[in-house]
């Protein structure tokens, strides 16, 4: 795993690597297409794990506050968090009620107006099919944001459950899971999308989300596994065990709360990348299908017309960029708030 500071003492003992503390094969970072940011997320999430004893160990002079109230106090004063939070709230709002700020149907297209620029009533102009770019950009938010949110939720749940269990119990199950994640890392994302999604005929967002979950979970799984292993070593876990707590109680009450932070951080960053992955899939012709309206569909449809009607490309890309930016900024702010070292 990318770990910013190499530490001499074993922190993440890995059954397969006896010598050095640093599970080297954790470094397996798949990527491609969207991967870059995913990996970024992974790395930045990882750096959280390095606070032995977790955030609870900090600020001994003050009265102990929970990790969350601490972070929240920080976040409230962070302008980055406020701005990105407001953007996301706005996105959620137009996803739920796109009609509130539009006055047309996104499916109403007049070919005669194709590629025309901005004009009264149509602030963003028209795309190659003569559809209103403004309306489609607003309506596209729903699909794009829900793809991002659902894929992230799925990845986070599946990845943290599997990774957490593997990290907690170790042994053969852990080895098998580690090798399975290796396999998934080895498959290029774009290739997997082309192959798997071209088989699907369904016209909902679920296959696309399912695909992202399928190829995304190993990443979270690695992080969860690593942070569970770290948390497992802590004195309070040993204490709980000595007191006779059951496995499930230890896992749920003691380890999970302390291991969940990196997962949350990674997930917020990953969310943005899933939205842009959807655009890439649509560009390859295997993403979402009409009549669904999404930024990915519009961006890929507009990209050939880049010379004649750049506005049709600009607005949905801009919306996508702002959204991704908002989520990454949010993730960044949360990460900073959760990481006492950077205070």
């Amino acid at each position: 795993m990318p770990e910013p500071t190499p530490e001499p003492e074993p922190r993440l003992p890995d059954a397969h690597v006896p010598g050095p503390a640093r599970t080297p094969q954790e470094g397996a970072i798949a990527d491609t297409g969207a991967g870059g940011t995913m990996d970024l997320a992974t790395a930045e999430g990882e750096s959280l794990e390095k606070t032995p004893g977790g955030p609870l160990g900090t600020g001994p002079a003050e009265k102990p506050r929970s990790l969350w109230s601490d972070a929240w106090r920080d976040l409230r004063r962070n302008p980055v968090f406020i701005v990105s939070g407001l953007i996301i709230l706005f996105l959620v709002f137009i996803s739920l009620w796109p009609g509130a700020i539009t006055w047309m149907s996104p499916l109403k297209c007049d070919l005669a107006k194709a590629q025309e620029g901005s004009q009264p009533g149509h602030p963003f102009g028209f795309d190659g099919q003569g559809c209103d770019v403004y309306t489609r950009t607003v309506y596209g938010a729903r699909t794009s944001v829900s793809v991002g949110v659902c894929a992230t939720l799925g990845v986070a749940l599946l990845g943290s459950v599997l990774g957490g269990l593997a990290g907690f119990f170790g042994g053969a199950g852990d080895s098998v899971l580690s090798r399975i994640t290796d396999i998934f890392f080895a498959i290029p994302v774009v290739l997997g999308g082309l192959v798997l999604l071209s088989v699907v005929t369904s016209n909902t967002i679920w296959p696309v989300i399912g695909f992202m979950v399928l190829l995304g979970w190993p990443q979270i799984s690695r992080i969860a596994r690593g942070s569970v292993i770290t948390a497992k070593q802590n004195d309070y876990v040993q204490a709980a065990r000595a007191l006779g707590a059951s496995n499930s109680r230890i896992l749920l009450r003691h380890i999970a709360p302390n291991a969940v932070a990196p997962v949350i951080v990674v997930a917020t960053i990953a969310l943005g990348t899933y939205i842009s992955l959807e655009a890439t899939l649509s560009y390859l012709g295997v993403g979402l299908k009409p009549p669904r309206v999404s930024w990915g569909i519009d961006i890929s449809a507009a990209s050939p017309y880049i010379r004649n009607a750049p506005h049709a490309l600009l607005w949905p890309s801009g919306a996508l960029a702002v959204t991704v930016l908002a989520f990454i900024m949010l993730g960044d702010a949360v990460r900073d708030a959760l990481d006492p070292k950077l205070r």
Binding site: D39, V195, L320, V324
Partner: protein, 307 residues
């Protein structure tokens, strides 16, 4: 050290088998590859059956897989539908893609680490913020948009480069495609270096070095950077496999006849032999790169030893 390497090599075997099996199944569920061979016509049933027999498609999938793997171990990766041996395709595609990957990695290292050090040392200052915004924009714009835009601007409007890459695919021609390919990873390397530098800046050995009166430059390059490089090296190492197979979009835009293009063609034509062959090699590259990175740790950080 030796034992460690052997252990790692042995672990590759199940991963290798699993990955190839997965790809094999994935390509197989896509449907009947023969159907696409006869244009907008139905292949006549007799010829279709004959072709299926020739490509071994009439056998059950597990048997196809076993036969295929058996052949792979003897160096026979099968034949593409146009009659070309897959090994020949690889021989032309891999050198091109390796060059492209080298260019991309060069950019990642030079630009990414430089920006990372600069921002890491000036955390929170305007430089840091603007680089942050820039990298985030790069991350959020899909590669095909960046690619098309650069091709149009540099290649046609300003005439600085040739918009497409010739079959020779020399390093010079690959600069812009390499930059496009590297862009997302570049942003990542920058962020990674930045985080790492920012944290190590406060470590004791840096303080000691500064206290000793070493010049600032030396502190940064010899003490700070070297210790901050491990995560970056990890990323770049694992990125190699991804860059090589993930260049589908970039290669298509810039007319690069590399691995990504061959994979894309193979998928469009549902050519199992091509796709599985290329991915098999990519999986190997990925696993070996991973191992090399782990061994590099010991070089960068003398505290790490492999038993």
């Amino acid at each position: 050290m030796g034992r460690y390497v052997i252990r790692r090599l042995l672990q590759m075997i199940p991963v290798f088998i699993g990955a190839t099996l997965l790809i094999f199944l994935m390509v197989n569920v896509m449907g009947d590859p023969i159907a696409g061979l006869c244009g907008d016509r139905q292949c006549d049933p007799a010829t279709a059956a004959q072709l299926e027999k020739e490509f071994g498609l009439d056998k059950p999938v597990w048997q196809q897989y076993l036969t295929y793997m058996g052949n792979v171990f003897t160096g026979d990766f099968g034949t593409a539908f146009n009659g070309q041996p897959v090994t020949e395709l690889m021989a032309t595609a891999f050198p091109v893609t390796i060059r492209l990957t080298l260019v991309a990695i060069f950019f990642e290292i030079v630009i990414g680490i430089t920006l990372g050090v600069v921002t890491g040392l000036r955390r929170g200052r305007p430089v840091d913020t603007s680089v942050l915004l820039l990298t985030l924009v790069v991350i959020s714009v899909p590669t095909f948009v960046t690619g098309l835009l650069l091709q149009l601007l540099l290649g046609v409007e300003w005439g600085w480069i040739k918009p497409s890459v010739s079959t020779d695919a020399t390093f010079g021609e690959l600069i812009v495609p390499g930059l496009v390919l590297a862009s997302v990873s570049l942003a990542y390397v920058t962020r990674l270096t930045r985080t790492s530098i920012a944290e190590n800046k406060r470590s004791d050995y840096v303080r000691t070095a500064v206290a000793k009166g070493l010049p600032h430059r030396r502190v940064v390059t010899r003490h700070l950077l070297r210790n901050s490089l491990i995560p970056v090296v990890t990323f770049i190492g694992t990125d190699i496999g991804a860059l090589m197979g993930g260049a589908i979009v970039t290669e298509r835009i810039f007319n690069i006849h590399g691995v990504g293009y061959q994979l894309y063609q193979g998928i469009l034509r549902q050519n199992t032999q091509t796709v599985v062959g290329f991915v098999t090699v990519l999986v190997l590259v990925f696993l070996v790169a991973n191992l090399l990175v782990d061994l590099l740790y010991a070089v960068l950080d003398p505290r790490i030893r492999y038993a």
